[in-house]
């Protein structure tokens, strides 16, 4: 046996990819230990700092609620209003960057090396793209957002002391129903189309490239290697990773909390008994869904049960793993969502909706430059309160969603990756918004039914479905979709946090992901009962500001990284 084939002198893979030569060994900073019967393999110090700072923030929000909400709300408002130009400008750069990658020769670089084959089929891949990042939002805003922009556009503009006080996009469409509908659809698609998906695509591509092709650990800091070199393994990297864990966990916990409230309202609306105005409304004997005027307090027990149930299902899913749990649930959910979409499409008027679909795409494309213009906007309420807020929100979610997308995208070429993460989801979003928003708008415009328009945000979908046949069945599908989308966000989020806090190892002991999944549910319950959910959500969205910088750096890193790769 030749001497060089000892364990240390192992030959490197043959040049299918351009591995970065670094002395850093994945897992070298990890602590492998046992706590009772549980084996652990955690990154030192990211795991501990993330966990402790999350606990500290929860305590702060509970102990000094007014101070915390004052601080975080101020931060949120300063970030989304003061830096609106930055968010809008950066998001435009991300879209242009992604489109550029499709057309340049870099598009033919394959993630995982020239001979890599895709890990997942298109169906499984698409299902997971939506399950992690956007499915839940589509359900809640699919009906409400087109309607909001339609109403504000129809209302026209209003000025006070030289500033616009209305919330309409661009120049509004005062009194013109057809124009207001077009503008409303364009503005909605703008918030759910190319821009958010470009944000996700940049993060996902950076992580996939530096992990699969460059051989660095699958964690956020790796994308910074071209800039900081080996310093990313020190505190620079610890801070980046900790911030990502923080944004992901609080992002998930706050959506889980709000999601539970929305699910509880939906369940009470569909299956509850009693009267909301009299304060006797309840579900399974638990008082819920009563109006404020009735003076009867809603019982948080229903929310605790819901969060526990969602967490329990997510727990089973993370234990079963990526293929046996997360992927299966994502595919089930995509099937159900497609079923609901087709149903609403056929009963909501296929010809009207097909026409609206193309009208909406056209309206989107003709308004996209005006809507994405970062400076000199007159429609400040819209561009700051809606667009800037959305961009900060998507960006604060991007470490989580981007990392999850990276995990399932090995084997695709850059061109295929960007097309499938940017263009196809955008078309699906246009379709979804057209079918759900369009049907609801049609109910207002043609039938004069304002039920969905007047309903609370979380109930709009159900009021819209109520006007269509088989309302009971479709509403149940709607509720199931909401719950399963929460489960798929929760389980994929736990996997992501576990990987980051294990220093990029995806084979850490299962006990760790179980810990993060339960921790997330516990944080949601504590914040929901103690108050502080809203203020921590503001804190999460504020992390969008530093992450925008991170994403801009990633664009540069991707470009540098692709330059040294062999094209297929």
């Amino acid at each position: 046996m030749a001497d060089e084939t000892t364990n240390q002198g192992i030959p490197e893979p043959e040049g299918t990819s351009d591995i970065i030569q670094t002395d850093y060994q994945i897992g070298q900073d990890n602590i492998e230990t046992k706590i009772g019967p549980f084996g652990l393999d955690i990154h030192n110090p990211v795991f501990l700092i993330s966990g402790l700072s999350i606990v500290a923030f929860v305590f702060y929000a509970l102990a000094l609620p007014e101070q915390a909400s004052g601080l975080f709300d101020w931060l949120f408002s300063a970030v989304t209003k003061g830096f609106d130009w930055f968010f809008l400008g950066a998001a435009n750069i991300f879209v242009l960057f992604c489109l550029l990658l499709i057309v340049t020769p870099y598009g033919s670089v394959r993630l995982g090396g020239t001979d890599a084959t895709p890990d997942y089929s298109y169906i499984g891949w698409f299902a997971m793209l939506f399950a992690a990042g956007m499915g839940i939002g589509l359900l809640f805003f699919g009906v409400s957002e087109p309607m909001s922009h339609f109403s504000s556009s129809l209302g026209g503009t209003s000025m006070e002391e030289g500033a616009r006080t209305d919330w309409a996009p661009l120049g509004a469409a005062g009194g013109d129903q057809a124009a207001a509908q077009r503008l409303g659809m364009a503005a909605t698609i703008f918030h759910w189309g190319l821009h958010p998906w470009a944000i996700y695509a940049v993060v996902a591509l950076a992580l996939a490239l530096f992990s699969y092709n460059k051989g660095l650990p699958l964690t956020l800091r790796s994308a910074f290697y071209p800039i900081f070199g080996d310093r990313v393994w020190g505190w620079t990297g610890h801070i980046i990773d900790t911030l990502a864990v923080f944004a992901t966990l609080f992002g998930l916990a706050t959506s889980l909390g709000f999601g539970a409230e929305q699910t509880a309202s939906g369940l009470t609306y569909l299956f509850g008994s009693g009267d909301a105005a009299e304060g006797t409304r309840s579900f399974l004997g638990i008082a819920y869904g009563n109006s404020e005027e009735s003076g009867v307090e809603n019982n948080p027990l229903l929310l605790v049960i819901l969060i526990s149930a969602i967490t329990a299902v997510a727990l089973v899913s993370v234990i079963r793993g990526l293929d046996g749990g997360v992927k299966v649930l994502s595919e089930i959910n995509m099937g159900l969502a497609a079923l609901l979409l087709l149903f609403v499409f056929f009963v909501g008027g296929p010809i009207f909706l097909i026409t609206l679909f193309f009208d909406s795409i056209w309206a989107y494309l003709t308004n996209i430059f005006a809507l994405s213009n970062p400076v000199g906007r007159e429609d400040v309420n819209f561009s700051q309160g809606w667009t800037s807020f959305y961009w900060a929100w998507w960006i604060s979610w991007s470490p989580f969603v981007g990392m999850f997308i990276a995990r399932v995208s090995r084997g695709r070429t850059v061109r295929e990756f960007v097309t499938c993460v940017l263009i196809i989801p955008t078309i699906v979003c246009v379709l979804w918004m057209t079918v759900f928003g369009g049907t609801a708008l049609n109910q207002v415009v043609s039938d004069g039914y304002t039920g969905a328009q007047d309903a609370a945000l979380e109930l709009k979908l159900f009021y819209m479905l109520d006007q269509l046949p088989l309302a009971t069945i479709t509403s149940v599908i709607g509720i199931v979709l909401v719950i399963v989308f929460f489960v798929t966000s929760s389980d994929s989020g736990s996997l992501v946090i576990d990987t980051i806090t294990a220093g990029g190892k995806v084979d850490a002991p299962v006990a760790q992901r179980v810990f993060w999944c339960i921790f997330e549910g516990a944080v949601a319950i504590v914040l929901l009962i103690g108050g502080g959910l809203a203020s921590l959500q503001s804190a999460v969205i504020s992390t969008g500001l530093p992450f925008t910088l991170v994403l801009l750096v990633m664009c540069y890193a991707i470009w540098r990284g692709l330059a040294s790769e062999k094209r297929a």
């Binding site: 046996m1 084939t5 000892t6 364990n7 192992i10 030959p11 490197e12 893979p13 043959e14 299918t16 990819s17 591995i19 060994q25 994945i26 897992g27 070298q28 019967p37 549980f38 995982g112 090396g113 890990d119 992990s211 699969y212 051989g215 660095l216 650990p217 699958l218 234990i319 079963r320 793993g321 990526l322 293929d323 046996g324 749990g325 995990r407 399932v408 090995r410 996997l495 990029g504 190892k505 995806v506 084979d507 850490a508 002991p509 299962v510 992901r513």
Partner: protein, 138 residues
């Protein structure tokens, strides 16, 4: 008595395999059986290798080293998993039939209270594999 022995190995924790490896080598020599060292790796870079190809090469080198140390015929078989923490048992069980092994020798920790709810890899393989399984305590 045995023709082909499958020995699942974790290259990241070779120090914990010593007893099992010796046992594998000695039995293979005694029965003149062939050994296939099976390793499960991730598509993402790990502490052992940057890519699945690199892992495969390391495993082959490891098998060669074992083969020469014990004077047996040995080969490596690397299997890729998206999520080894939850899939490893199923992948190993599949490998038992695919490699046509008639004996599995693997290392396992001393059981603790968690093994009642969450069986160890060795425990699960011993319970479900169609052939004989020898679990060597570390």
């Amino acid at each position: 008595m045995f023709n082909k022995i499958m020995a699942p190995v974790d290259l990241a924790h070779k120090d914990r395999l010593e007893k099992a490896l010796k046992c594998t080598g000695d039995l293979a020599k005694y029965y003149n059986a062939e050994v296939v060292y099976v390793g499960v790796t991730t598509t993402t870079p790990s502490s052992t290798a940057h890519t699945p190809e690199e892992y495969g090469k390391k495993l082959d080198a490891f098998a060669k080293e074992q083969g020469e140390a014990y004077g047996i015929s040995a080969s490596g078989d690397s299997l890729v998993s998206h999520d080894p923490s939850s899939d490893v048992d199923d992948i190993l069980l599949k490998a038992v039939s695919e490699t046509g092994s008639d004996l599995v020798i693997m290392a396992s920790h001393v059981p603790n209270v968690m093994d009642y709810v969450w069986p160890s890899n060795g425990g699960k393989i011993a319970e479900h594999a169609k052939c004989s399984v020898m679990v060597v305590r570390t």
